[in-house]
């Protein structure tokens, strides 16, 4: 079983490497959106520092959302998704593997580049560590929840906008907890509650969303 899941993971990563622009656009979008904020609201360092957690988190979830449409649509168009229904493994696990590849390609780079942008917004070292930690727990949730939206909009016209409408409201809890964790450190409080809840949410999403996504894929391919 792990052999076929590993083959799928390797396939998705190989495809991403052969077409690096897809992953780079997501990171580029994240960088540009965050960089625009100081231009819009002025260079006051203290003010930027207060806004930073929210700005970084909103930019991250918009960037992830931007990439969701491609999660299944390429495979849907060329028929490989159909063949995946015929793979003798549970579809939920295949979907989970694809979502994991999606996170490696889009979520992880966002986590890795966030310190650079955090410095730009005048965050201190301990706040930056917390930001990375929160993003590390939060971005998988974004990919997992997003996979449901990506599956439900397969083959629809204007699917991208529909994903945004379906998924953005569901992104509110990780946004509140993730930005809250950095805020807590900023104000000298403990961020443990935020992180625990984020972790719990990730575990829940890990077990619940792949089956919902698999059901959606089956329905959309019927």
């Amino acid at each position: 079983m792990f052999r076929s899941l590993f083959a799928l993971l390797r396939r998705d990563l190989t495809l991403a490497l052969r077409r690096p622009q897809d992953a780079l656009t997501v990171v580029g979008f994240f960088v540009v959106v965050v960089a625009l904020f100081p231009l819009g609201i002025g260079p006051d360092p203290e003010f930027l520092r207060n806004l930073a957690p929210g700005v970084l988190w909103v930019a991250a979830l918009l960037a992830v959302m931007l990439s969701l449409e491609r999660l299944f649509s390429d495979d849907y168009r060329d028929g490989t998704l159909e063949q995946m229904l015929l793979v003798p493994e549970p579809l939920g696990l295949l979907v989970l593997t694809k979502t994991f590849a999606h996170w490696l390609i889009t979520g992880l780079p966002l986590v890795l580049i966030s310190p650079l942008l955090a410095v730009q917004l005048n965050l201190r070292a301990d706040e930056i560590v917390m930001l990375m930690l929160a993003l590390l727990l939060g971005t998988p949730i974004l990919s997992l929840i997003g996979s449901i939206g990506a599956a439900l909009t397969l083959g629809l016209r204007g699917g991208g906008v529909l994903i945004a409408l379906l998924i953005l409201p569901l992104y509110a809890p990780p946004l509140i907890l993730g930005a809250g964790a950095v805020d807590a450190v900023m104000h000298g409080a403990s961020a443990q509650a935020h992180l625990s809840l984020l972790g719990a949410m990730m575990v829940f999403a890990l077990f619940a969303t792949p089956w919902a996504t698999a059901a959606a894929v089956r329905i959309m391919l019927d």
Partner: protein, 214 residues
């Protein structure tokens, strides 16, 4: 070599009282047939008579409006490991990744299916279908007919007891049609089963049955 190893071999494929609808329109109803190992079923009918819908139902990709499909005594929805463990399906899409080479496409599909990839047999299958020299090219550089051949090579290497082929001859040239015909005859001789739709009449040596829709 036969298909004993899968534990799913030597079972009949039976359709019981099948009916299908597409957008409120009845395509067919009260459809009964059974297929034994070593038999081929050619499905014919006009455009829009439900050939593809029938094939998708048989492969478990779509659900029938009424009726059931059985593999032996089991309903195909409840087969352990899904219908993919007993059948291979080639639809209108070739299901190839354009950025991967022909060889990579095939090896990944075999690995996904739980088989151990064997580079030599993949290469010899590609050569048999006239693709020698093309195995290292990303498939986006191949012509329609060549892509179809890669998809056929993948299907033949999966070695499932039942092969479901939707218009396999589309875009193929005469030589490849001959190779495909002999592959089909081999498959039947090894007690495999085949369900096929085609507009051409391709005479195949073996136990052939036909089903007309519409």
């Amino acid at each position: 070599m036969t298909f004993e190893s899968s534990g799913l071999a030597d079972r009949k494929l039976r359709a019981v009282d099948l009916a299908a609808e597409r957008g409120e329109r009845r395509l067919f109803e009260h459809l009964h047939f059974s297929l034994s190992p070593g038999q081929l079923l050619q499905v014919s009918g006009r455009n829009g008579s439900g050939k593809t819908s029938l094939l998708r139902i048989l492969s478990g990709l779509s659900r029938a409006t009424e009726g059931d499909v059985f593999w032996g005594e089991e309903r195909i929805q409840s087969i352990d490991g899904g219908t993919g463990s007993c059948l291979g399906y080639l639809g209108h899409h070739n299901a190839l990744k354009e950025d991967l080479t022909a060889e990579e496409n095939i090896l990944i599909a075999v690995r996904l299916g739980g088989g151990s990839p064997d580079r030599d047999s993949a290469l010899s299958m590609l050569e048999r279908l006239g693709l020698a020299g093309y195995e290292d090219l990303p498939t986006r550089f191949l012509s329609q007919g060549q892509k179809r051949r890669v998809a056929l090579a993948r299907l033949l290497l999966q070695r499932r007891p039942l092969m479901i082929l939707d218009e396999p001859y589309a875009a193929l040239d005469v030589q490849v049609i001959d190779v495909l015909r002999s592959s089909i005859e081999d498959h039947l001789a090894q007690r495999g089963m085949i369900v096929i739709t085609t507009h051409q009449s391709v005479d195949i040596d073996g136990d052939c049955h036909s089903l007309h829709l519409g």
